[in-house]
């Protein structure tokens, strides 16, 4: 009895699911799997803004669904499967840890398109996408190098992974370029999210003489610490953090997923979706540079905007030789630019940064 009901419901569900794949339904359904709460004010918040932009763009033609705070591992597989079973046409999985689960589930639903953020594994129905945040870091580095008076720049890292190390290197290269005396103090918070610890890290860096704080953690805690300390400048991270402008926040890197999400949804609607590897930066609008405030002198602002323009149009690459690694070995020859593979797996500091990457 039980077995037969099970089989019956399975058959029914498969039938339903099969129906969902056909073009019978009018709305395109887009699912989002989020690693944190949409109220985190940072990473997940910005992905959710992208989702809302999709809704706004397509109105009645699209239906979006999301599940927040989904643990990486079996929970994420279940949530993806559930979305696929409920008829999602396109599913965005927005954390590196969803990589293997996305590949697993995509294999089971060949007609559903998957988009995995920040990973490197693809399939016929799995694309990957990420943002070249290091392009924004170059601009921050330039402003930081020009603005610092103590020549000490504090950097709050989350975990020592390529994404974060790449940002440190990019910022350092461009700070050093305009200010040869500049020194980076790097503190690893060993957490993605702990506002109190981020605040502490910022305070410690300021106490140790830093008058510029760069952060690769998402909360505004370092901004508040800088504001309290007075003459310290910061940059917004993930979101604009405009409530701390014009001081201490003088500019920001904004994760802007909306154009990509809209384009990919459109591709599914048009039937033109194919598996791709997208790594977009300032040019495509995936990395936004928040308004540079008047706390920055006009000529520095102009230089920064010029740098932004040259990165955006592709005439300049933030990792352009000659560059050496921290140990003095050659990294890039004169005029050579780093290829994406090297950038993706970057696990070394460039020459001049002191200290070791913890492991």
């Amino acid at each position: 009895m039980k077995l037969s009901t099970l089989l019956a419901s399975a058959a029914l569900a498969l039938g339903l699911a099969g129906g969902a794949y056909a073009d019978a339904h009018g709305k395109t359904k887009v699912g989002f799997v989020f690693v944190g709460p949409v109220g985190d004010g940072g990473w997940t918040y910005e992905h959710n803004q992208g989702r809302l932009a999709v809704e706004k763009e397509f109105g009645d033609k699209v239906e979006t669904v999301f599940v927040e705070s989904v643990a990486e591992g079996p929970d994420s597989e279940r949530v993806m499967t559930q979305m696929a079973l409920d008829g999602a046409d396109l599913i965005f999985t927005t954390s590196f840890g969803y990589m293997d689960p996305t590949i697993n589930i995509a294999a089971k639903f060949p007609d559903v398109k998957f988009e995995h953020a920040t990973g490197y594994k693809r399939a016929d129905n799995v694309s990957t996408y990420s943002a070249r945040f290091y392009e924004g870091r170059a601009i921050q580095g330039h402003i930081a190098g020009k603005m610092t008076k103590s020549n000490v720049i504090g950097y709050i890292g989350s975990f020592p992974i390529p994404e974060v190390i790449r940002g440190i290197n990019s910022a350092y290269i461009h700070a050093k370029k305009v200010n040869p005396d500049v020194e980076f103090k790097i503190v690893w918070a060993y957490t993605w999210f702990d506002p109190a610890k981020e605040a502490d890290a910022a305070k410690v860096l300021i106490e140790q003489g830093a008058d510029v704080i760069l952060q690769h953690t998402d909360s505004t805690a370092p901004q508040a610490a800088a504001q309290e300390a007075g003459n310290v400048i910061t940059f917004g991270q993930a979101s604009d953090m405009a409530q701390y402008a014009p001081m201490p926040r003088v500019s920001s890197i904004i994760d802007n997923w909306a154009p990509y999400y809209i384009a990919r949804t459109k591709a599914v609607m048009d039937g033109t979706w194919t598996s791709t590897d997208t790594w977009d930066g300032i040019g495509a609008g995936m990395v936004g540079i928040g308004e540079i405030t008047d706390a920055v002198p006009a000529e520095v602002k102009e230089e920064a905007l010029a740098l932004k323009a040259s990165i955006a149009d592709g005439s300049y690459h933030p990792f352009t030789g000659p560059l050496k690694k921290q140990d003095g070995s050659d990294f890039l020859a004169e005029g050579e630019t780093a290829d994406d593979g090297t950038l993706a797996g970057m696990n070394f500091y460039v020459e001049g940064i002191t200290g070791d990457i913890p492991n």
């Binding site: 709460p37 109220g39 985190d40 004010g41 940072g42 918040y45 504090g154 103090k185 790097i186 503190v187 690893w188 060993y190 957490t191 999210f193 702990d194 506002p195 109190a196 610890k197 981020e198 605040a199 502490d200 890290a201 305070k203 410690v204 860096l205 106490e207 140790q208 003489g209 830093a210 909360s219 505004t220 805690a221 508040a224 979101s239 409530q243 701390y244 002191t354 200290g355 070791d356 913890p358």
Partner: protein, 306 residues
């Protein structure tokens, strides 16, 4: 490596601030545990305090009103725990865990419209010339009123527990609820009050994070401070003064490792982050010779007929 870049004065001033949420939360839990109640819901009460305080401060523009609301919010949530454990006689460990789950969820619902909002600042207390004393000035006389209040509260709790009749009754209830009941004390009422005091303190600690130390509101922002507070009570072997010391040690180690990193010292961060917990365990072992430390009725359910 450049250890000279660590400024000892600012370092000390920094961990005084970092320790304050811990002091509040742990002090409240200490009083609850002294009465024989183990409330594992500290994290939940803290986060409720964090959002109640934040929302009230933003709406009224007054951080102090925010702190008052945080205390009320924390105490209100703790009443739920008191109802479960004192009236319906539910297990304290499970009730506390449920309280934390509920508090984390409920605070997120309350705080939906407060993400990204900047709260009003609470100014430093003006000590006039005292502030300018070298070394001592920045360490002792450059903080907000709530930090001093936390310190004062430690003194008050210590004095009340040690010298007053109320403190004696509280300890008696914690040592043997049956004996206390036989002597005519209202065990349930006393414990409920102790739990509410714990909730109010946890709420204040949470608000200190959301209004002063960070200051912002995001879901789950207490990030485990409530659990550290629980450890701290044991570390302090239920003595207010040692609690103060322990809070500075716990706060200090985090500050120290961040300072050392900033100075370029290659330290294994994970292993240093473990150290407060390992030290607490060692302290427990050392203290174990002193059998009188833990309240004898801790975690046990009381019913008058049993």
């Amino acid at each position: 490596m450049d250890l000279s870049s660590i400024n000892p004065v600012l370092f000390v001033a920094g961990f005084l601030v970092a320790a304050t949420p811990l002091i509040f939360a742990a002090l409240g839990e200490l009083v609850a545990e002294k009465s024989g109640v183990l409330n594992l819901g500290v994290e939940g009460m803290m986060i409720i305090g964090a959002i109640c305080g934040f929302a009230t401060a933003v709406e009224t523009g007054s951080p102090l009103l925010g702190f008052a609301a945080a205390a009320v919010g924390g105490a209100a949530l703790s009443l739920l725990f008191a109802f479960l454990t004192q009236i319906t006689l539910a297990n304290q460990v499970a009730s506390g865990l449920a309280l934390t789950l509920f508090g984390l969820g409920f605070s997120a619902l309350l705080g939906q419209s407060y993400v990204g909002v900047k709260p009003p600042r609470l100014a430093e207390v003006n000590f006039g010339p005292l502030h300018d004393i070298p070394v001592l000035g920045p360490i002792l006389f450059s903080h907000d009123i709530v930090l001093y209040f936390g310190f004062a509260l430690v003194v008050v709790v210590w004095a009340v527990l040690k010298y007053t009749r109320a403190g004696l009754i509280l300890r008696a209830v914690g040592e043997s609820h049956d004996a206390a009941h036989a002597l005519g004390f209202r065990v349930v009422r006393i414990r409920t009050l102790a739990i509410m005091f714990g909730g109010a303190c946890a709420g204040l600690g949470g608000a200190y994070i959301s209004l002063i130390r960070v200051p912002q509101w995001t879901e789950g922002m207490t990030a485990g401070v409530g659990w550290i507070a629980l450890a701290l009570v044991v570390f302090a072997s239920w003595k207010p003064w040692r609690l103060l010391l322990g809070a500075y040690l716990f706060g200090g180690i985090t500050q120290l490792q961040l300072n050392l990193q900033g100075a370029g010292v290659a330290i294994p961060v994970e292993y240093l982050a473990m150290s407060p917990y390992i030290i607490t365990i060692l302290v427990l072992v050392v203290l174990s010779a002193d059998k009188s430390a833990a309240p004898a009725s801790l975690g046990r359910t009381f019913h008058a007929s049993s």
